[in-house]
């Protein structure tokens, strides 16, 4: 095998291997980003850890467990909220949707 051909084969193999490794890494990720949601908090648990949000653009409320910054105050009903929705793998055949606060609520409601 000539040297240029060997180099090409090596480069292609490395690229394919890298792509495969990247794919495998992505598919094994425990957390997958699935979208964003902005709207008003329609329901909130007393701890503020569970909320439902009425989308600003209409549609049915979406509910989920809420992850927020340590200095963020808990969301309460009526707050404007902007959250990222992620799918957390909680088992081999199970995922759970979680909300991550993107825009902490302000107190000037």
């Amino acid at each position: 095998v000539s040297r240029p051909v060997a180099v090409v084969v090596l480069v292609v193999s490395a690229a394919v291997g890298g792509w495969f490794a990247g794919s495998a890494s992505a598919s094994s990720s425990r957390l997958t980003f699935v979208g964003e949601l902005s709207g008003r908090v329609s329901v909130a648990s007393v701890s503020g850890a569970k909320v439902c949000i009425a989308p600003a653009n209409g549609g049915a409320d979406r509910c989920g467990a809420l992850y927020r910054g340590p200095d963020d105050r808990p969301l309460v009903v009526g707050d404007s909220a902007s959250v990222a929705i992620a799918r957390l793998r909680t088992g081999p055949a199970e995922t759970t949707e979680i909300f991550i606060v993107e825009q902490p609520p302000t107190d000037d409601r």
Binding site: S45, C52, A65, G91, E94, T95, T96, E97, F99
Partner: protein, 343 residues
């Protein structure tokens, strides 16, 4: 549990609403039927009525399409609504059980004293006892442990997991006093579509008129349609528990949507007022998540395509604060959606 994959067409939907309210006697205007009055029927009429040894009334309402049986206190009411989605052809069924009771210590203990239990109520509705114990045995204990059959007695109810309630109850009320059950059975299309569901309420703390409840609910339904071509299959199973104004559902499960790619056990639990309340059931694809959520209500909805003739379930738990200005009034809406598969 056996799961068979089948194919079919058409999709259906139905809605049934059942309401049980203590002050709604059969003779009250707008109500008809038996001791559990019918407020809305959509062709359903009372076809049978009996009273259990515990004093609960079992009323059977039937129409050309189905049969609804409910068990509850005298003076309750039932409303039944059916519909078909013209766009999808799906039929949907939802059931609402509700009751209103005096907020007194004497009444708080009435259910326990009656000897009723979730399993006993389901048996009274016609569920085989073995199946009732297997599927709903954990509804008779607040922590979700399934009692052994030998140990299951109609008077056996709550056991506690975790620390005792923070607020002391009056001496006559146990820390996990079972407060009530709301149960119903549903059967459509000659029994091809059937289900049983219950809410079990536990009064875990009380101080004067300030009451705290930990509750759980389960609705288990399935199709027994063995047709090879386009059998009837479930698409949605939902159950919820709602309370009157000024009550506060301050914690609940499921809190978010859980997606499943295979069948497997799902357990929901929460710790409220020092007591853990939990429930579990096998849940199959596609997902189970919150339903009918609000400040006075919470629920659970399974959505997917029923695998074979497997039982599909909606389960959940909730914690409720009932302040002195809130009535001890609650209701359980549930729904089924089904039709031939594939459409």
């Amino acid at each position: 549990m056996r799961f068979l994959r089948t194919a079919g067409a058409v999709i259906g939907a139905m809605a049934v609403t059942t309401a049980l309210s203590a002050d709604a006697v059969g003779g009250r205007p707008g109500l008809q039927g038996g001791e559990i009055g019918l407020t809305h029927g959509d062709g359903f009429t009372l076809t049978a009525e009996e009273v259990t040894t515990g004093g609960a009334v079992v009323d059977t309402y039937s129409s050309k399409s189905g049969t609804i049986k409910v068990i509850g206190r005298r003076g309750s009411s039932v409303s039944i609504v059916e519909s078909t989605d013209p766009a999808t052809g799906r039929r949907a069924a939802s059931v609402r059980l509700s009751t209103s009771r005096p907020k007194t210590l004497t009444d708080a203990d009435a259910y326990r004293r009656s000897g009723r239990s979730t399993v006993a109520d389901l048996v009274a509705l016609g569920m085989p006892r073995d199946q009732a114990v297997r599927e709903f045995g954990d509804m008779d204990t607040i922590d979700g442990r399934v009692p052994s059959r030998a140990g299951l007695d109609s008077r056996m109810v709550a056991s506690v997991s975790g620390a005792p309630p923070v607020t002391q109850l009056a001496p006559t009320v146990s820390g996990t006093t079972p407060y009530d059950t709301l149960c119903a059975s549903l059967s459509y299309d000659g029994g091809k579509i059937s289900g049983y569901g219950c809410s079990t309420l536990y009064l875990v703390a009380a101080s004067g008129g300030d009451w705290w409840f930990d509750n759980k609910y389960k609705f288990s339904a399935h199709s027994s349609d063995g047709s090879i071509i386009r059998p009837q299959r479930l698409f949605e199973v939902g159950w919820s528990l709602a309370w009157a104004t000024n009550n506060i559902v301050y914690d609940w499960e499921p809190e978010s949507t859980i997606n499943r790619s295979e069948c497997g056990s799902v357990r929901f639990s929460l710790l409220a007022k020092g007591v853990t309340v939990s429930i579990d059931a096998p849940i199959c694809p596609t997902k189970i998540g919150p339903w009918n959520l609000g400040s006075t209500r919470s629920g659970s909805l399974w959505q997917g395509v029923e695998r074979g003739q497997a039982y599909e379930a909606a389960i959940g738990v909730q914690a409720v604060h009932s302040p002195p200005n809130a009535a001890a009034s609650y209701n359980s809406p549930f729904k089924l959606v089904w039709g031939p598969f594939p459409p």
